[in-house]
């Protein structure tokens, strides 16, 4: 029955408008009453983004903008630097030389080297 009326009068009913306004106003109120929550969110946001790019932490801005029908979070995150893609992930076309040698030295040696070490333990220093 109520659905019938809803269809008849469409979504422009003042009751629906009231509901929408109420939801928006309460979201805004709750945000305004919880500045510490926004701070925490901002910190974590910066932390996540910093895993990928270098961020100017001092200049990060987080704001909430109210539009007619929605609330949006606007984050302004100045980026200071982005790592060269090849430094982040191994490239398929990469030649074996300098870049591949570094992780090999730091981590576990390649399989062939390990086999050789077993036979002659004092071999290469």
């Amino acid at each position: 029955m109520i659905d019938f009326f809803k269809r008849l009068f469409g979504p422009s009913d003042s009751g629906a408008t009231a509901k929408q306004r109420l939801q928006l106003v309460l979201m805004t109120d709750h945000l305004a009453l919880a500045p510490e929550m926004i701070d925490a969110m901002k910190r974590e946001l910066v932390e996540v983004i910093s895993r990928y790019v270098e961020v100017d932490r001092e200049k990060v801005e987080v704001d909430f903008e109210r539009h007619d029908h929605a609330l949006a979070m606007m984050a302004n995150v100045p980026i200071l630097g982005v790592a060269r893609p090849s430094e982040r992930a191994p490239e398929p076309l990469e030649p074996a030389q300098p870049v591949a040698a570094q992780p090999a030295a730091a981590g576990a040696p390649p399989l062939q080297q390990r086999k050789r070490r077993k036979k002659a333990q004092r071999a290469p220093a």
């Binding site: 109520i2 009326f5 009068f9 009913d13 003042s14 009231a18 109420l22 309460l26 009453l33």
Partner: protein, 279 residues
């Protein structure tokens, strides 16, 4: 006879004392005072001893709604300041001996009432009454804090309006979980809800998420009875009067069916308004 729910602060409160319930809303004009008068009347008609406390110092109204304005000689601050005894200040209802009013001071200000004194006063009333209903002033300042201070439970009154729901939301935030707040949706107009022109009880409570104590339709009858100073709950035959009695039963701990006022009142309420309005 009257089941008392377990107290929140068990250690501090002996079980023999009555329950102090604050009726609050944040926003003014949503029907706190009318609700207090009617719930008090309905509880007293069940045989309970009920004290109604007007905590709206400076803007008292509960005496008017109860038709007792000419009988009020002393007020809450007189008792707090020690000028008169509680017995001298309590005004019995015209209709029910077990219902009594403690009026607010009209010529004073809310800031003049110390919170500890208000709490102590409510404690004294709880020793003598099964229920102490505190009619809270609008706002969330000193007057609100005073009204809430001595209470263990809260009833929040909300009309289906954006502003009222917003204010109740704020009040619930201030109350925290100490007061087990229950919701009364007041002044609902079922016909408007059906036509999608008013927030429904479900809309309101989707936001507030409180146990629903009851729903009161917007009836001309309420204005008429308030004009006369006779609480509507004195009569059980009308839909609205009956709704207050259902709420009183629920407060007393009876397992009463969930209110179905929305559909029922839309018909009877309008019928009542049609005939009652002419009388």
């Amino acid at each position: 006879m009257h089941e008392r729910q377990p107290e929140i602060e068990v250690a501090a409160v002996p079980a023999v004392r009555g329950r102090a319930i604050v009726i609050t809303s944040g926003k003014g004009g949503v029907g706190k005072t009318t609700t207090t008068a009617n719930l008090g009347t309905a509880l007293a008609m069940r045989g309970a001893r009920v004290a109604l406390v007007d905590a709206d110092v400076g803007l008292r109204n509960l005496d008017i709604v109860l038709g007792l304005e000419s009988r009020v000689k002393h007020h809450l601050l007189d008792v707090i300041e020690g000028g008169v005894t509680l017995d001298e200040a309590l005004v019995p209802s015209k209709y029910n001996e077990s219902l009594m009013l403690l009026a607010a001071a009209q010529n004073r200000e809310k800031d003049e009432v110390p919170t500890e004194a208000m709490t102590a006063l409510i404690e004294r009333l709880r020793e003598r009454f099964d229920y102490v209903l505190v009619d809270c002033p609008a706002g969330i300042e000193h007057g609100f804090r005073n009204a809430v201070a001595g209470a263990q439970e809260a009833i929040v009154v909300c009309t289906p309006e954006v502003s009222a729901v917003r204010d109740v939301d704020r009040v619930i935030g201030l109350l925290g979980n100490r007061f087990k707040p229950q919701l009364i949706v007041n002044r609902l107009r079922p016909q408007l809800v059906k036509r999608g022109k008013m927030l429904s009880v479900e809309d309101v409570n989707a936001i507030l998420r409180l146990p629903l104590l009851g729903v009161i339709a917007d009836e001309p009858e309420i204005i008429i009875t308030t004009n006369k100073g006779e609480p509507l709950a004195l009569r059980r035959d009308g839909a609205t009067g009956a709704a207050y009695h259902v709420m009183a039963a629920k407060i007393a701990g009876e397992d009463v069916a969930a209110p179905t006022v929305e559909t029922r009142d839309s018909f009877f309420g309008r019928l009542g308004a049609f005939f009652g309005g002419k009388a």
